[in-house]
């Protein structure tokens, strides 16, 4: 039976999160969120917007209006390549890149990112590596990431890994920082303590 596919597209005020905008605007870089005039410079200057389900401009509008679910579930925030083009070009001096970071973090906190989407995993792997050694090892981190999110891709990536190894561009072992790597862990722990103190 062929029929016209329809979908209800209406938003009731109580479905929106009234605090969402403020919680993002309160973070460093979020301060000008409310000043957006929806000119679209961010979208048109963005080299990745062609893949996004919502353009950056729409993400700003939706964030401001409290469309929390849609924003956090969007692929836009994960596609942002942090090239800062929007931040530099915005005529209202909105730090769009920082807002994208804030939204990514929020999505991870609320665990609403696309399944098996590698970026959050990658981020966490970097984090672990740094905690342990003070440095990040791209090769190992990426390998781990692939194994965790899409093990089948491992085979595809093997060739590249091998080439890198042969040219001495990927180390199997982890190069540790000089000095005391536990200082890093202590520093990170202290940040948590300090953050709690000021909140």
């Amino acid at each position: 039976m062929s029929s016209l596919q329809i979908q209800v597209r209406i938003k009731h005020q109580e479905e929106l999160d009234p605090d969402f905008a403020n919680s993002i605007a309160a973070l460093p870089g979020g301060e000008n969120l409310s000043r957006c005039i929806q000119c679209g410079t961010c979208s048109s200057t963005c080299p990745v917007s062609l893949y996004m389900d919502y353009t950056p401009r729409r993400i700003i509008a939706m964030t401001r209006a409290g469309f929390k679910q849609e924003v956090l579930a969007s692929n836009t925030i994960w596609l942002c390549a942090s090239c800062y083009e929007c931040t530099v070009d915005c005529p209202r001096e909105i730090k769009v890149t920082d807002i994208m970071y804030a939204l990514k973090r929020r999505a991870m906190e609320e665990k609403v990112y696309p399944k098996r989407f590698p970026t959050p995993v990658l981020a966490k792997e970097f984090f672990k590596s740094v905690l342990k050694t003070g440095r990040s090892n791209e090769g190992l981190t990426v390998t781990w990431m692939i194994l965790k999110t899409a093990p089948l891709n491992m085979l595809k990536q093997m060739g590249l890994g091998l080439k890198l190894l042969l040219r001495g561009r990927m180390a199997l072992g982890v190069e540790k920082m000089e000095g005391d790597p536990t200082q890093i862990r202590r520093l990170m722990e202290q940040v948590e303590v300090e953050e709690k103190k000021t909140h």
């Binding site: 929806q38 000119c39 679209g40 410079t41 979208s43 048109s44 401009r57 729409r58 070009d89 005529p91």
Partner: protein, 668 residues
């Protein structure tokens, strides 16, 4: 100390305090009832009242009645800023028979209710200010305003449409007007435009008659190529020194026949023509543009061989049968006295190279709007034929709004006119060359009479509108259709999709901005600038053409972006203000001059060199300093410096200020 203080004139002060609600402007933050009760208990206060609007007639009547019935001899009004309503309440006092200087204001609106978040804190602050006013007013004395006759002539600086209009109004009212213009011709930006929106009148056709009226008006002295050098004096009596640069052509002899230009040893133009925004070149001797007023050629001393190197066959001199050319002309200075000054110095356009993302200066087919105005004009560099720098005719044109406007990195304000200018140009491009036109806008601003109707017309012309700010213009082709074109990348925000639109010509509607030297100019005239560099009006609503310097008025875009009708209307307002000042015949001077107590003056001479107006001299017989009241402007610098406290300033005596300090600190 406070309690025992008697009024300086010996009479026991009887103070009335009037607290204004100002609708909810004050009352929503300050507990005005509590403030009234607090005031009632202050020393010398006889009556304390509140009222919805103290500045209204019934409010003023309240004061007058109490003065008569309660025998009040001091009045305090706690309401808005004294800069706004001091005069109102002084008048009310005077009407009730009280010397108006037995009055003072406590500013509990601008200084309190509008700037304080917390209600209790606001009330507390208001109490302190009222206590200070009550304490201070006890020390007030009866004063008289001095009257000084005014000079009836007026100077208008800048001869664009605003300056021209103001000058003509004043001249027609019988005033002698000095019209000072730094360019070789009057006319300003309006003289460069092709058509004017929304009626599409030819700009030159409506401007030229006014320009020749200026030229022929017996009451107008026109000085072109001239700059104001120095302004001294004050409202009603300004002295202005004007520097007049040489034209190297005798104005009274030249008939602009153009023989000299023909004859010039240069066969081609060599100096970028300012009138045509550099799209054409003129010779060292040239006519600024066909309708230039005064209708006379002039010589650019930097380009002329005779004037720059001293060596030339001077064919121009030979060609001029009226012997109008005069290489010996020198800079001249004129000093005139005027009662009022109108500043109509206009604006400049935003430099589009500051936004490299739009490629101006890099891609030849990117134009600014004013360049296109010249290009479409029949008297322009191409005689009105629309050909681009590469010789092609554009088939598709992209017009970008808001270039440099609404952009915090450049100018945060909206220039106001660019939407309409862009619509007009879109229409002209459709009409003249049948080009496909895209307008890229953020918000369409067509707010005045006939403007929305014009927008409707342009929509119907088939112009494409894309709501989105253009991110970049490049020559980067991603598809065959983009090869050899300028590609505009923009989000069509109404659709939510990024588009790439290849065009032949890009037109940038650049922002209006304050002149680079606006700051120097405002200093000369002792007025203020807003953050963006526009001259600051005295009050945004109620004194929009006045400045903080009495007798100096503003007309046109120098005060902020405007279109032609608004500029003309404002020029009329400025002319009326100037007229009302000079026709009155006198100005009243605020009696806040300084004086020196001869009994305590030690004759140390500290104050004498400090006075910027040379108002203080030494009485060699009595060996004390003396203030010449006619010269004193009332800054109080001598008072601040006097080691013995002998110098005092009316309305700001030591005693009054000390009472005020005590008042703000000791009663709350």
């Amino acid at each position: 100390m406070f309690m025992e203080n008697k009024a300086s004139d010996g009479e026991q002060p009887r103070v009335g305090v009037y607290v204004c609600y100002c609708g909810m402007n004050i009352a929503s933050k300050v507990d005005v009832e509590a403030l009234r009760q607090f005031a009632e208990k202050l020393p010398n206060v006889v009556v304390s009242r509140t009222y919805k609007f103290m500045c209204s007639d019934p409010g003023q009547e309240l004061i007058a009645q109490d003065i008569k019935e309660q025998k009040l001899n001091r009045i305090v009004v706690a309401s808005c800023s004294p800069l706004l309503h001091d005069a109102t309440f002084r008048k009310a006092c005077a009407k009730a028979g009280l010397n108006p200087f037995y009055f003072t204001m406590a500013n509990i609106r601008e200084q309190v209710s509008w700037v304080t978040a917390n209600s209790a804190a606001a009330t507390k602050k208001a109490k302190a200010l009222v206590a200070a006013a009550v304490a201070r007013v006890a020390m007030h004395e009866a004063l008289e305003k001095k009257r000084v006759p005014v000079h009836a002539d007026v100077m208008v600086v800048g001869a664009g449409i605003s300056g021209i209009h103001a000058a003509l109004l004043l001249a027609n009212a019988g005033k002698k007007v000095y019209l000072v213009e730094r360019e070789p011709s009057i006319g300003g930006h309006m003289g460069q435009l092709d058509k004017t929106f929304p009626t599409l009148d030819c700009s030159a056709c409506i401007l030229t008659p006014k320009m020749s009226e200026v030229k022929n008006h017996p009451n107008i002295t026109l000085w072109t190529l001239s700059d104001v050098q120095e302004v001294s004096g004050f409202s009603g009596n300004f002295k202005v020194k004007v520097k007049r640069n040489p034209r190297f052509v005798k104005l009274e002899l030249c008939v602009a026949c153009g023989q000299c230009v023909e004859a010039c040893v240069f066969k081609e133009g060599r100096v970028p023509d300012e009138y045509n925004i550099g799209l054409s070149k003129h010779k060292p001797i040239y006519m600024p543009f066909p309708q230039a007023t005064p209708a006379s050629v002039l010589i650019d001393p930097n380009a002329c061989l005779k004037l720059s190197r001293g060596k030339c066959a001077s064919k121009c001199v030979e060609a001029c049968d009226r012997a109008a050319i005069d290489f010996e002309q020198k800079v001249e200075y004129s000093e005139v006295e005027v009662g009022a000054i109108i500043l109509a110095t206009g604006y400049q356009l935003f430099d589009a190279t500051k936004m490299p993302e739009y490629g101006y200066g890099k891609y030849p087919n990117v134009y600014t709007m004013i360049e296109l105005e010249r290009l479409v004009n029949a008297a322009g560099p191409t005689q009105g034929e629309i050909v681009m720098r590469d010789g092609r005719k554009p088939k598709r044109v992209g017009i970008i709004h808001c270039v440099g406007s609404r952009d915090k990195r450049h100018h945060p304000y909206c220039s106001g006119v660019c939407c309409m200018v862009s619509l007009k140009m879109a229409h002209l491009m459709r009409e003249r060359i049948d080009a496909e036109v895209f307008n890229f806008y953020i918000d369409m601003r067509t707010t005045l009479k006939g403007y929305e109707e014009f927008y409707d017309r342009v929509l119907h012309d088939g112009v494409n509108f894309v709501r989105g700010r253009v991110a970049e213009v490049t020559d980067w082709a991603m598809t065959p259709g983009e090869e050899g074109k300028l590609v505009i990348r923009v989000e069509d925000t109404l659709i939510g999709v990024v588009r790439r639109i290849p065009v032949d010509m890009v037109v940038l509607a650049t922002a209006m901005e304050a002149h680079d030297d606006a700051d120097d100019v405002r200093r000369k005239f002792n007025i203020s600038c807003s953050k963006e560099g526009w001259f600051l009006e005295r009050h945004p609503k109620l004194a929009p053409v006045s400045t903080f310097s009495d007798g100096i008025f503003l007309a046109g875009v120098c005060q902020g972006p405007k279109d032609i009708p608004e500029s003309v209307a404002q020029a009329g307002a400025a002319a009326a203000e100037a007229l009302s000042l000079v026709d009155k015949g006198f100005v009243e001077i605020e009696p806040n001059s300084a004086w020196i107590d001869a009994d305590t003056c030690s004759g140390c001479k500290t104050c004498i060199p400090l006075c910027p107006y040379h108002a203080i001299s030494r009485d060699e017989q009595k060996k004390v300093a003396v203030v010449n009241e006619a010269l004193c402007k009332g800054c109080g610098t001598c008072v601040g410096a006097c080691p013995s406290g002998s110098a005092q300033q009316k309305l700001f005596t030591d005693q009054q200020l000390h009472q005020e300090i005590e008042g703000v600190l000791n009663y709350v």
